[in-house]
């Protein structure tokens, strides 16, 4: 018998389509979360990036708490790419997840994804990063970045002094955390006219980019006394650049996050200060909120702020493992 073989690509398309359709079968026509069959309910943890230890802790704690509460949980890494995040939402909606614990890539761009999930009756709980809409996520557990950076700003003035040149490394421009941190810091530092910001550039919360940006800032501004970085990954990148330039002792580095390597560096006198966020607390609270929602609770505050604590050489012994010891 003469048979005709289908090309490999066609088979792949057919198999993928079948998987996609089968995955969507768990969802009822009325959009009700579809894990009410025999298996355990499922939570998706969608995180902006796993290329930063702080977000790894956030995502893994959320996943682990969900598992403790009796769910199956899967982490989706958006790799700081809104289009990848969008694909993750396509998949988790089609797969009928029961809740999403969400750390967004873009405060405004990510709203559409949350809206699609809401339309499919999948509740979304934002962690750490805000989306700038009040009617799509069930709740948002957010760091009080502004207050944390006010405290950092005050310590900056105390340690750097009331005059001199400094630089600022901003995070991702589309993330409201970037601006809440920067504004909190400047609400203090800008009141001292002797402190002059000679460079302000984005390094996208990324260590390698921060190293490059800091190198170029140092070439143009050799007299800076300090650098304020919008997160700890950038603080470590900036410190590496300063070390390579032989200026690690001359320039004070301030970070934000409370990452373990920076807390250790504060103890060793390499970094001056950071703001300790509490990723584990935010992740656990988000998972517990999702669990409460699935069990019928509906009265959630849209936003809940989690305090940030200043970490300096004076109190660094109290901190570690992404929180208070």
């Amino acid at each position: 018998m003469n048979t005709q073989k289908l090309p490999v690509g066609a088979w792949l398309v057919a198999i993928c389509s079948a998987i996609f359709l089968l995955a969507g079968c768990g969802k009822g026509e009325d959009g009700e979360a579809g894990s009410d069959s025999t298996g355990p309910k499922r939570m998706a943890v969608v995180v902006s990036t796993l290329n930063n230890p702080w977000f790894v802790v956030l995502a893994e704690t959320a996943r682990d708490r969900a598992i403790e509460l009796g769910y199956e949980a899967t982490i989706f890494d958006s790799q700081n790419d809104p289009s990848k995040e969008s694909v993750h939402f396509d998949n988790l909606i089609a797969s009928g997840y029961d809740a999403v614990l969400f750390n967004c890539t873009d405060a405004e761009g990510s709203i559409a994804n949350v809206r699609r999930a809401k339309k499919a009756d999948i509740p979304v709980f934002c962690m750490d990063r805000e989306i700038t809409a009040n009617d799509v996520a069930v709740s948002q557990i957010l760091s009080d970045n502004y207050s944390g950076c006010v405290a950092l700003g005050e310590y900056f003035v105390e340690t750097v002094g009331e005059s001199g040149e400094y630089a600022e490394l901003l995070g991702i421009i589309a993330d409201t955390n970037t601006w809440n941190r920067s504004k909190g810091f400047h609400s203090v530092v800008d009141r001292f006219p002797g402190l002059k910001m000679v460079a302000q550039q984005s390094a996208d919360f990324d260590r390698a980019k921060a190293l490059e940006v800091m190198e170029s800032i140092l070439q143009a501004n050799p007299n800076i006394k300090a650098v304020f970085c919008g997160n700890d990954a950038m603080a470590m990148g900036a410190y590496q650049a300063l070390l390579a330039a032989g200026k690690a002792k001359q320039v004070k580095v301030f970070g934000f996050d409370g990452a373990d390597d920076v807390v250790r560096s504060i103890a060793e006198g390499k970094i001056t200060a950071t703001g300790m966020q509490f990723p584990k607390r935010m992740a656990r609270t988000s998972a517990e909120s999702a669990h409460a929602y699935i069990n019928g609770k509906r009265d959630f505050d849209q936003r809940t702020l989690v305090a940030v604590e200043l970490v300096t050489k004076e109190n660094v012994s109290k901190f570690g493992d992404f929180g208070r010891k």
Binding site: T132, Y146, V150, A174, N180, F278, R303, L305
Partner: protein, 217 residues
Amino acid sequence: MSYLSSKFVRWGGSVALLAILWLVLPPFRIVSLDENGKLPSNGKGDAAFDAGEFADRFWEETLVSSMDSATPLSDLLEAIDADLASAKRSYGEQKGEGAPVYFYAGGEGTVVEIKGRRATLQAHGARVNLLIAPPVFGNTVRDGTGLLSVNELPGLEEFNAVSAALNKKVELEVMSVLKDSLSQGVKVRFVGCSKVPEALSDGANLEFTPLRVEIAE
């Protein structure tokens, strides 16, 4: 000739149609970036949010009427003297786990020292500091009374902008009253908020940011 004119009509019509489509359904929109180089908000109604106006309204409609019911300073200091932790539980304002605790209190005290931006007052057998000159930093004014929630604002940026506006109001409208009128021995009456430290050891005083202050008779 007719061929040319019909060709002209076709081309002209197409161009006109495209122009109309371009005007009615533009493929892009030009918007101004804000002071941070960021795109303005996406239509959730906060583009026109005026933090100063919100702060004025909050001050007049909510804060002023609450001042007479702030914790009496004498009660607060007595409670702190007994035990700071239980004073926090009884009189503190706190929003959520790990958040700072604030006291919202009012009373009288006598100036015993003025140092920089601070006056130290002797009050009910204890000493408290009163911030008497700019700058005012942080969220003590916004959060200290417990009367304003982040969920009353469109988002965090707006919430933080309100904090800055309230601080400015204290600097311009409250502290200015004190200009050159304070000296040792002067008695002042105030209502204010204080961010509570973890401990009050080594002679540290509570520090109040005033919401209302006047020289007592």
